[in-house]
Symmetry: C2
Subunit: 659 residues, 2 copies
Amino acid sequence: MVSAKKKLRVHFGPDNVDIIVPQGENLLKAALAAGVHINAACGGNGVCGTCKVLIKKGEVVGPRSAKISPQEYEQGYRLCCQSRIESDLSVEVPPESRLEVAVLSRETGAVQAGAAEAIATGWSFIPPLNKCCVELSPPTLKDNVSDLSRLLRSLKRRCNLRNVSVDLDIVKDLPRIQRRKGGKVTVTTLVKAVKTKADRRKPTIIKVEPGDTSRKHYSLAFDIGTTTVCGQLLDLNRGRVLAESMAYNGQIKYGADVITRIAYSQRPGGLKNLQRAVVATINQIIDELTSRSRVKGEHIGHIIMAGNTTMTHILLGFDPKYIRLAPYTPVANFIPPARARALGIEVGRYVYLFAFPCVASYIGGDIVSGVVGIGLHQSQKLTMYLDIGTNGEIVIGNSDWMVTAACSAGPAFEGGGIKHGMIAAAGAIEDVDIDPESLEPKLSTIGGEKPKGICGSGLINIIAGLLAAGVIGQNGKFNADLKSDRIRRGSDGYEYLLSAAGETQTGKDIVITEVDIDNLIRAKAAVYAGCQTLLRSVGVSPSALERVIIAGAFGSHIDIERSITIGLLPDMPRDRFIFVGNGSLTGTRLTSFSTDLLDDARKVATMMTNLELSERADFMNSYVAALFLPHTNASEFPTVMGRLERLGKASRLGGRLAR
Amino acid sequence: MVSAKKKLRVHFGPDNVDIIVPQGENLLKAALAAGVHINAACGGNGVCGTCKVLIKKGEVVGPRSAKISPQEYEQGYRLCCQSRIESDLSVEVPPESRLEVAVLSRETGAVQAGAAEAIATGWSFIPPLNKCCVELSPPTLKDNVSDLSRLLRSLKRRCNLRNVSVDLDIVKDLPRIQRRKGGKVTVTTLVKAVKTKADRRKPTIIKVEPGDTSRKHYSLAFDIGTTTVCGQLLDLNRGRVLAESMAYNGQIKYGADVITRIAYSQRPGGLKNLQRAVVATINQIIDELTSRSRVKGEHIGHIIMAGNTTMTHILLGFDPKYIRLAPYTPVANFIPPARARALGIEVGRYVYLFAFPCVASYIGGDIVSGVVGIGLHQSQKLTMYLDIGTNGEIVIGNSDWMVTAACSAGPAFEGGGIKHGMIAAAGAIEDVDIDPESLEPKLSTIGGEKPKGICGSGLINIIAGLLAAGVIGQNGKFNADLKSDRIRRGSDGYEYLLSAAGETQTGKDIVITEVDIDNLIRAKAAVYAGCQTLLRSVGVSPSALERVIIAGAFGSHIDIERSITIGLLPDMPRDRFIFVGNGSLTGTRLTSFSTDLLDDARKVATMMTNLELSERADFMNSYVAALFLPHTNASEFPTVMGRLERLGKASRLGGRLAR
């Protein structure tokens, strides 16, 4: 008679999580199932000793490990991966055994409350890049298999690695390396790409080093933006960000946005120049990351990058020509792993670059990475993911389905096409308070410096302020009847003086013009209409959205209330908005930590259905209706309209609309 | 109620083969099942039109194809792959639709009767290299998938290719190529290597060309021997050998055998020199093959090679050092596919070289290829496969198991270490008839030229002749009592004058000495003892062997009867011996035609158990016992002893043994 296994309760501290498991269950598995992230650098084979835990109550059985000192053993320390659960347990995970997942969401300054929720969960810490130190038995006449077979056999026995492939380059060096340190070698394996679920367990040996180098185990995560490139150096043993760095994309000198870059790429040598420029930026960031963290470049084993489709094409040397021409076809969305050094990136020759898959010409790997990073694909919650920049990319969906669309917002959000626009740097006006009576502005600038120009998020705040103060009407035109020296006629028509020449860095007046306001209205209308059209295409009303996740450098600096006021974001409960900063970078980082997410990246890119807005007649209608502050259809913005009325301006606004 | 399908009989001419199949069966499948090889270049998708057959009697149904002209249709021609069998049939396969498998076994001059039996069967003609022409629909706004997705989609629909990977290099060129000839492209895919059965259906795109180039579809098969390199140019559409060429391995100048080559490889630059030398030979052969067949080098898409472990190592640039040093470990037996051009081979940059897997330091890919080529792994017949050269490699087994061993025979079989030894070239004495009374020799030489020396097979025949004539005894010593000017004392002891100075090319006497005879006896004893030890290790008696397959350049020139007389081959019914010539080349060729065999190569290499003879005490005993003509144990050679007795020499021999 087979008796059912006893059910046991395991409590994990300090997470304060309980889980019920059958008697005999492995403790590491139980921890993973409970969502407790424990460091198990060797993959649970009992060789690395990094998964030490303290058994405070109850009983586990398992082999005694040399990694646990007699004193520790007395105290109740055990290797998590080697312990079988035999009774109810209370387990304390000491700091040194914890994967500091919390760190993952902390390092971007822009992360706000609620962001913790928007981090992918449910993945095991099994980086696609793995290091495993094995001691090879010496060859004898009775056991004279090839050097490679000996290595593969040990990997199977000691590291539980099966179905291992091998890069041809490394085979050549095996005889020398395997005989150098008494047969002790460290093998670096990589899950290059996941095409089927089974591929997650099919790594390739990319490097073999003499001796034990398993402690030096790093990789790079990159977000390659049109404007900025962000990189992080990751410690794959500890699941930690060691350093982060950012630089302007060196391609900027060839054009500000993807369209001008693509145009430049069609000149003789243009593509090569662009490719070299971004690689130079990447190399500069790697240089900074390694010198700041004192990690040697040779110990970097992998790079995961995400970028929009054009940036991804250029980095890989693909011709982006047809991204710009209708019907907008990329060369490839799913890109085989490339040797980083073949692209000019200064890392070891064995290092591969994995580029996040793209979905379409204007839905790139950065969006897929962001979606993976925030775990949109893991949640039943109906979510909108919004990345606003020169292009606005929108994803709507949950774990079952996803639709996506891109809309061209133009450069206004990045300060482009604005008379005194500038990028979000020191001296940019980022906020304004307009006195409703005097109509005098109180400015805030980045860094508190003297005003120099207006950045994108500042522009939103200024326009929301002008609207609330009744200086402009819902159509974005100035109320010329108002008595204020600030409101005047300039070379571009009516304008509002934000800062007079004597107070500015430039020594010139800084103004916002009707043309500027018009540009911003067109930009926000494109994004809002894109969201509306996409929602309509799947028959979902905006109020059904449970979360709106805002990603991107611009997104992380905007003010929700003001953005709703001008009609960029939909008027819904404010607690549904979550800022995640650079979601793309989060995705590349988390994927560097988890082969599960590498698999998810493929799935997400495959499941996203791209909607070409230019193909939808209703998009243009929505766009025209959105060319108003906040919107032609006032009922879509009840709280905004209510506030404007409460401010006692409603009647004046009404009057101005007729102008 | 489901009624059982009707059984139908299909007759195929001119093969004159019948098969019973269920009604509705596909005709191409029925042909394959019947062992009738039909050309189906497109893999049975009805697009290439190469599988045309004539339905002489009966009825098939299927779509009408543009590849069949109205006249042909009238006559009864149909596409085999598109036809469903609806009645008993009589089908004629016209010559242009036949895969000329018979050709496969014909081109090596040495193939003798019985060889046809020793060719692998039961494989489908599905080369690992495949060409498929597809017409891509033009991109539209409603269908603007990436260029790569469009290509993959077409391959799936039109060529039934799924799970296709892609080399990064080719992605870059897709936009240009796919737009050049109205979307018509030819895709070359390769099953790079088979690690699991499923991999047989997981090809990689290695090249995409504009337009239809599917008719130009070639590959190379190579046997890289220590002494000679043989290559064949294959037409993969027709399963045909277009040209064959052979050259001495350019490494010969650095040493005659693997041991001296390995020694040379340890000098500074030695390995590189050896690698370059064999590559130069390969390039010379490719040059000859392409110019003779008027095939352009750029249309060669793949190379499959087999060589002994040392040759394989050197070609790939692996250090062979430890092959020579106990415990004799190769660097790797299973070798990832290499870019041929990276090795210096002058072919397209997309061409891969697949090296047959090796088993151990002295059981190489040439043996695995030979075993695959003759289909040893497909037969229940207990078979011994013997490749005799400087080393003798022996395989014993059948479809269930295989054991293998290598014995060092020394250079005697290749004319080395023999006073007037030479390789098997024009002027080599290859046979002799010794008059039992006068003891005068009647010589035959290669090419009928004046004698120049003695080749290995000639040596066997001379010694067998001397033994039969009673000139030497079973111990290999001369009967000095015989009265003949031909038997005399020379600088190396007793010798027999084969050809006097006046009759030779060299202007010097050509003799065979007791030392020469001793060398040959030691060589044949090593091979015979190796076979015996291997048989003993698996508990099989020699008489249980149903086939003895003799491969290799030397093997294809030896005389069975004489080889048994001297005790090189076991004394068994002569019809069990089969010569297959260059078995290794046969294996590489057939594998170029069939992905099934690529899979078999891996299986065969894995299933072979290598026996280190130096580890077996009984090998030395067997070896010493074999140092006699034919053998110390006369009962092992009953027919030889009987004949020697019948020749009336038995008494004289007996007397001489006492000398």
